[in-house]
C-alpha cells in the first residue's frame, strides 16, 4: 500500500530535540529532527549505532528515560499534540494509538505471567471488553500472528516459547488495541537469522491488513529495502536524508547515505556497524561544527565545516548537505562534487 501524499499525516514530528543534562553540560542526542508518517506507511529509520534512532522512537511514545527529556519541538498524532501531555493521558495513548515493539523478545515479556494474562491485561486496559471477550480476542490475536494451537498456547508462560514465537507474542501485544502506529525498534536484531525474515514479513503483512503505520528502526538495509515505503537516515542525532525507499537505496543523495548503501547486505546478514565509511560517528560531546559528517565526508568543502546544512530538496528526497544548496552559495568543492 503506497500512501497517497495528499493524506493528512498520521504522525508529525517537528524539530524534535532530545537532551541529556549531565554534569559536564547538556548532551543533545536528537537535534532538530522533523518528519511525517502517513497512515499505513512504513518509515524505515537507519543510521549507525548511537545516531539517536531509539531515542527518537522513545520520544514519540513518551518513554524517554530520565534524565533524558524532550527539550524542544513537537510530536503531533492525528492532529493532536502529544509530547506535552500529562503522564496519565499519554499512558492512555500508548498501546491504544501507538504500539511499540522492542529489540529483545526474550526479555520483553514478564516471565511470571502467562502470555494470555498479559494479552488480556493489555486488551482490558484499552478496550471495554469482559474477561471472556478479552480472552477470545487474545486467542484471535495469537492466531493472527501465526502461533499454532493458540487456544492452548494462550495459557503458556513466556519460557515455553522460542525466541521467534515470543516475538510473535510481542507483536500480538502491540496490536492488542489496534493502534494506528507502531514503533518497532530493531524488532529482529536479537533473533536467529533464520527467523528474522519471517517476523518482518509478519509485521509488514499485519500492518498492511490493519492499515497500521510503522516506524521501523533497524540496522538492516535489506529489511529497509524490502519493507519500507520511505527511509530516514540519521547521523549524530540529526536527519541526514529522508525520501522514498527506492530513491534512497538506489540513488542516495547524501554522501553518508551513499556510504551506507555501498553494499546492501541481504535480509538477515545485517551489518552491526556500517563501516564502509572511514572513521566513526562523533561522540555527542564532540560533534564537529558545520556539517557533523564533514570529517568523514569525501566531498566536504570549506563551507561544510562552518555552516550546518538543513534538509534541502534533492530529487524526490531531501538531504542535509550543501551539495544540494539551490541558492548556489555552496562551497566550490562541494558544488563540483555534486556536478561530477
Amino acid at each position: 500500500m503506497s500512501p497517497s501524499t495528499a493524506a493528512a499525516p498520521l504522525l508529525q514530528v517537528r524539530n524534535l530535540r532530545v537532551e541529556f543534562p549531565t554534569r559536564r553540560g547538556t548532551l543533545v542526542a536528537v537535534d532538530d529532527v522533523s518528519f511525517d508518517v502517513a497512515p499505513g506507511e512504513v518509515l524505515g529509520v537507519v543510521g549507525e549505532s548511537g545516531a539517536g534512532k531509539s531515542l527518537t522512537g522513545a520520544a514519540i511514545i513518551g518513554l524517554l528515560e530520565p534524565p533524558g527529556r524532550i527539550a524542544g519541538g513537537q510530536v503531533i498524532l492525528e492532529g493532536q499534540r502529544i509530547d506535552d501531555l500529562p503522564y496519565e493521558q499519554m499512558r492512555k495513548i500508548r498501546g491504544a494509538r501507538i504500539g511499540a515493539i522492542f529489540q529483545d523478545p526474550l526479555t520483553s515479556l514478564n516471565p511470571l505471567y502467562s502470555v494470555g494474562r498479559q494479552l488480556v491485561e493489555t486488551i482490558q486496559t484499552h478496550l471495554p471488553l469482559s474477561a471472556f471477550d478479552a480472552r477470545a480476542r487474545a486467542v484471535g490475536l495469537l492466531k493472527e500472528v501465526g502461533i499454532p494451537g493458540a487456544e492452548t498456547r494462550v495459557d503458556h508462560y513466556p519460557h515455553q516459547f522460542s525466541g521467534g514465537m515470543r516475538q510473535r507474542v510481542v507483536i500480538a501485544l502491540a496490536l492488542c488495541a489496534n493502534p494506528r502506529l507502531i514503533i518497532a525498534d530493531e524488532p529482529t536484531t536479537a533473533l536467529d537469522v533464520s527467523i528474522q525474515a519471517q517476523i518482518i514479513a509478519l509485521l509488514k503483512g499485519l500492518c498492511r491488513e490493519h492499515g497500521t503505520a510503522v516506524v521501523l528502526v533497524t540496522h538492516d538495509m535489506g529489511v529497509i529495502a524490502e519493507t519500507a515505503d520511505r527511509v530516514a537516515v540519521m547521523y549524530a542525532g540529526r536527519l541526514a536524508e529522508i525520501g522514498p525507499v527506492r530513491d534512497v537505496v538506489k540513488n542516495a543523495r547524501h554522501p553518508y547515505t551513499r556510504g551506507l548503501m555501498g553494499s546492501i547486505p541481504s535480509i538477515g546478514g545485517h551489518a552491526e556497524r556500517l563501516t564502509q565509511i572511514d572513521g566513526a560517528m562523533p561522540r555527542l560531546t564532540a560533534i564537529p561544527s558545520g556539517c557533523a559528517f564533514n570529517p568523514r565526508c569525501p566531498q566536504a568543502g570549506v563551507r561544510c565545516s562552518i555552516e550546518r546544512p538543513d534538509l534541502m530538496r534533492a530529487g524526490p528526497s531531501r538531504a542535509a548537505c550543501w551539495l544540494y544548496d539551490s541558492a548556489g552559495v555552496g562551497a566550490p568543492a562541494a558544488r563540483e562534487a555534486a556536478r561530477g
Binding site: 491504544a96 520483553s108 514478564n110 511470571l112 503458556h156 508462560y157 522460542s162
Partner: protein, 326 residues
C-alpha cells in the same frame, strides 16, 4: 511436582537426622549423664547397674537409633535441672516464643515490604533517602541495645508499655495465648519490635534493591509501552518479580527470628524457649539443650520446605514446561 516435594522432604529428613546426631553426641560425649543423675555417695556398682539399665553400654548406633525413636515419639527425657519431662517444659514455653516470633515477622514484613516498594519506586525522593539512612542504623544496632533503648523510652520514661513478661494470657488446652487480652497485646509490642527490627530493615533494603532492578527490565518498559496503569506495573508486574528473593530471605529470617528470640526473651524476661535455653545452658541441662536444638532445626527445615514450595507457586519457570518450547 510430587517427586519435587518428596525430594525436598527427604532432604529435610536428612538434615534433621544430622542435627539429631549432634544432639545425641551432646548426651554421649559432653559430660557423663550418670554423674548428672546420681548423688555424690552412689557407689561405682550402682552407677554401672544404672548405666546398663539405661542402655548406655549398648553400641553407639543402637543408642542413636533408640534416641531417634524416642525423639520421634516426643520423648526427650527428663531435665537434669528440674527433673520434669523435657517435652512438657518445651511445650509450656513454645507458645510464648511462637507468638512473639509471629508478631515480629508480621511487623518486619508488613512494614518492610511497603517501605522497600516505596523507596524502590521513588529512590530520589528525600523520604526514601532518609529511610535508607535510618535503615542502616537498624541493621547495625545490636538487638539487646534496641531492646534496652525501647524499654528506657516506652516503659521507663513514658511508662505506656510493659517492659517484661507476657502480660495476661488465655489458655487453649496446653497453648497459652497473649493475643486475646489488651495486656497481652501490649506486652507483645516492645519485644516484637525489638526482635523484628533487624529483619524489617533487611527486607526493606532487599525489596528496594530488587525493585530498582526490576524497574529497569525490558518487560517493565514494554508494560509501559502497552499503556498499563502504574498500579498494574508497580504491584502486578514489578513487585511480583521481586518476590522470589524476598521469599528466600524472609524464610531464612523467620528461622533466625525464632533462633535469635533468645536475646530478646532475655532482655524482656519473656517466658519462652529462648529463656529456657539460657537457663539450661547455665545448668548444663543437656536434655533440654538437645531438645531445643532439634526443635529449632525442625523449624528451619520446615520453613525452608515451605519456601521451596512457594517458589513453585510464584515462578512458572520452575514448574517444568508443559508442552515444551516450540
Amino acid at each position: 511436582m510430587i517427586s519435587f516435594v518428596l525430594n525436598r522432604v527427604a532432604q529435610a529428613a536428612g538434615v534433621l537426622l544430622a542435627v539429631g546426631f549432634i544432639a545425641f553426641s551432646l548426651f554421649t560425649y559432653v559430660g557423663d549423664p550418670i554423674n548428672a543423675m546420681v548423688g555424690q555417695d552412689t557407689s561405682q556398682q550402682e552407677k554401672e547397674e544404672l548405666r546398663e539399665k539405661l542402655g548406655l553400654n549398648d553400641p553407639a548406633p543402637l543408642q542413636f537409633a533408640r534416641f531417634i525413636g524416642n525423639v520421634v515419639q516426643g520423648k526427650f527425657g527428663l531435665s537434669y535441672r528440674t527433673s520434669d519431662p523435657v517435652g512438657r517444659l518445651i511445650l509450656e514455653r513454645l507458645p510464648a516464643t511462637l507468638e512473639l516470633a509471629l508478631c515480629a515477622a508480621l511487623f518486619a514484613l508488613g512494614v518492610g515490604v511497603p517501605l522497600g516498594v516505596y523507596t524502590g519506586l521513588y529512590p530520589r525522593h528525600w523520604t526514601s533517602r532518609l529511610l535508607q539512612a535510618v535503615s542502616l542504623i537498624g541493621i547495625s544496632l545490636p538487638t539487646f541495645l534496641i531492646g534496652i533503648l525501647l524499654i528506657v523510652f516506652f516503659a521507663v520514661i513514658l511508662n505506656v508499655l510493659p517492659s517484661f513478661g507476657r502480660g495476661e494470657t488465655v489458655k487453649f488446652g496446653w497453648w497459652t495465648s497473649g493475643y486475646f487480652t489488651v495486656a497481652g497485646l501490649k506486652a507483645l509490642i516492645l519485644p516484637s519490635v525489638t526482635l523484628g527490627l533487624f529483619q524489617l530493615t533487611l527486607i526493606m533494603r532487599l525489596v528496594r534493591s530488587e525493585m530498582l532492578e526490576v524497574m529497569r527490565t525490558d518487560y517493565i518498559k514494554f508494560a509501559r509501552a502497552r499503556g498499563l496503569s502504574n498500579r498494574a506495573i508497580n504491584y502486578g508486574h514489578a513487585l511480583k518479580n521481586t518476590l522470589v528473593p524476598v521469599i528466600t530471605v524472609t524464610g531464612l529470617q523467620l528461622g533466625a527470628i525464632i533462633a535469635f528470640a533468645i536475646i530478646t526473651e532475655t532482655v524482656f524476661s519473656w517466658p519462652g524457649m529462648g529463656q529456657l535455653f539460657v537457663q539450661s545452658v547455665q545448668f548444663a541441662d543437656i536434655p533440654v539443650m538437645a531438645a531445643y536444638l532439634l526443635l529449632v532445626s525442625a523449624f528451619f527445615v520446615t520453613i525452608n520446605l515451605a519456601v521451596d514450595l512457594l517458589y513453585y507457586v510464584v515462578d512458572p519457570r520452575l514448574r517444568g514446561s508443559t508442552g515444551g518450547r516450540h
